[in-house]
């Protein structure tokens, strides 16, 4: 797999020299001529030229003229969003992924793909050198979006939102890359799965839960928890828990000791990323909480330290994540 990729990438980088010079001329012409009409005319001419170019890799997405490749097959995808990378692999487009973000670890095949940076540090040159015909970006990466537009490279703009948006993103990316059926099947499956978990916990008492994704190790300081919006909050509700910060309409809340004492969670779930924690480390993390002895979760010992990236990546494994939470909340 690795060797395969390298042989593909190598020659194409060199081959790209010709058209890249031509493309980089484009914006300069646009910029120097003032009127919009002329600019559009030039863009049209450029478009004609580029589509005539034998080396052009399928239809191009010229944003000014509207999307042209809505149902076309794309074959070289760079994904800066780990959740979407997972989606692409899950709908069978893994072989078309030619570049991933520096945080991509799942599925294992994703680790072997070239890394092109992430949210704050996308490597534009590296992305270009992979000759993608679709780049999955965060919609907040405005600089990268502008540069990719100038380079006439099509984009899929990802927005981080709630649980329901995960399956709608799967359907959207499936439509975008011409794998509508598999994407729909996957998304419907996830929806059904989550619904089943929802039904299985329906009617059970909902423990007041705080879902923590960051804390200073060894102290009850700098504690960050999921607020009342976002996919973590939605997962918690779907798994039959009551979010103690459900009323705070933010993605994250700094949970001060006073807030925690006031909200009195029955269950504390701490989500860690990276390598699984040792038993000692987990025991120590639980001990720290005895600093707030009145919390019901501390009294009953319902403190859970989970190292599970399914809980932090809003991707196709989200139904499993909801099941994990449901098992924790309703043992």
């Amino acid at each position: 797999m690795v060797a395969d990729n390298q042989t593909i990438v190598g020659p194409k980088v060199q081959g790209s020299k010709g058209p890249r010079v031509q493309r980089s001329k484009g914006p300069r012409v646009l910029g120097s001529k003032g009127p919009r009409g002329l600019a559009i005319a030039v863009a049209l001419v450029l478009f004609a030229l580029v589509s005539l170019d034998a080396r052009a890799r399928g239809p191009l997405d010229l944003w000014t003229l509207g999307p042209l490749d809505q149902q076309s097959r794309v074959s070289r995808i760079v994904s800066l969003v780990p959740a979407v990378t997972e989606m692409l692999f899950a709908i069978g487009a893994g072989d078309d992924v030619v570049g991933v973000s520096s945080y991509d670890t799942f599925p294992p095949e994703a680790r072997t793909k070239p890394k092109v940076g992430a949210l704050v540090d996308p490597d534009f040159e590296r992305i270009l050198s992979l000759r993608p015909d679709l780049v999955v970006v965060y919609s907040t990466q405005v600089d990268l979006v502008a540069r990719l537009e100038r380079a006439r490279i099509a984009m899929f703009r990802y927005e981080h939102a709630g649980l329901a948006d995960i399956t709608s993103t799967i359907r959207a990316i499936g439509d975008r890359i011409g794998r509508t059926d598999r994407a729909r099947a996957l998304a419907d499956g996830i929806d059904r799965d989550i619904e089943a978990t929802r039904r299985s916990v329906a009617g059970k008492p909902k423990p007041k839960t705080v879902l923590i994704f960051g804390r200073e190790e060894g102290a009850l300081r700098a504690i960050y928890a999921s607020g009342g919006i976002g996919f973590m909050h939605d997962m918690l509700e779907a798994a039959g828990g009551q979010d103690v910060f459900g009323d705070v309409k933010r993605q994250n809340v700094q949970a001060t000791t006073e807030l925690l004492l006031t909200r009195a969670p029955d269950v504390i779930i701490e989500v860690h990323t990276g390598e699984p924690w040792t038993a000692d480390r987990i025991a120590q993390a639980k001990r720290v909480w005895s600093g707030l002895p009145s919390l019901p979760a501390v009294k009953t010992g319902r403190i859970y330290e989970l190292t599970d990236d399914r809980l932090s990546i809003p991707g196709p494994r989200v139904a499993e994540a909801v099941r994990v939470l449901a098992r924790v909340l309703h043992p």
Binding site: Y103, A118, L119, V120, D121, F213, G214, E216, E217, G218, A219, L220, R221, A222, Y224, F245, V248, R250, V253, Q254, T256, T257, E258, L259, L261, T262, A264, T273, R281, G291, L292, P293, S294, K299
Partner: protein, 330 residues
Amino acid sequence: MTLPLRRGFPAIALCFTAMVAAVVAAPFIGSTSIAFSRVFSTALPFADNVDAQIFFIARLPRALAAALVGGTLAAAGVVFQGLLRNPLATPYTLGVSAGASLGAMVAITFGSMWVGGVASASLAGAFLAVGIVYALASARHRGLSTTVLLLAGVTLNSFFSALILFVQYVSDFAQTFRALRWLMGDLDVASYAPIIAALPLVVIAFTAFAWLARPLNLLSIGAEAAATRGVNVVLAQRVAFFSASLATGAAVSVGGPIGFVGIIVPHLARLMVGSDHRLVLPASTFFGAAFLVGCDAIARTVLAPIELPVGIITAVIGGPFFLWLLITRR
């Protein structure tokens, strides 16, 4: 010499009262209302008494930490301004806070490998910065060259800032967020342990400050003039540099690099009691403590249940207030 001293006493008494009032009042203010009859009730065991825990675990250590940090930063600001004979000097001018921040960033980013926690890492960073600046400033001079001190401090500040950016850049997103939040200052210490850990350092620093008041007065005229009046200039400079740095490092390790307290409060104190360090030091300490406790109370309540970083409040309140004083006191 005795007359102006006595004239400053009412102002110092006022600052002291303000500090005590702030520390006593702050635990009664918060985002949630608690029943005070239950806070001090002995009928309920402490482990079950939520109100008492909010009072004694969440609020009281916080008020005490704010007082400690505010008073220490303000006093350190006075000493640095006296040592460098520069009204724009702050406790952070000589790179102590940048070193402390770097230590904290490293601990937050590579936390699992660091045993001592964020506070001790920031203290270690502060000591590193102090050591470097001292070595540079005393390399070519007998005693300390204040010019070299300033230049070395400013350069070290930007150097460490670059390293901080580097560490943040290689850390993952959640860590970057936590690190950034640490830089804004946070006094939710959650127990008395961080305060007790910092206390010995603060006590040592303030003992030195007490001794420094007279030498600093004479140094403000000039090093040579002070020497002719019997001040051991080299010793005074060293003590001032190390004690103020120690105080700053201790304060930053508790609450993060909270800005503005260390520059505004000394000037406000001078407006109240004049420029005699024997008056400015206690007035600044008490007023700085009261000021930070007040700012933290605002930070906790103004957007409740969400909390604002206290560093934002000190800057937002302190900055305009200081400018207003500057303009009206002409």
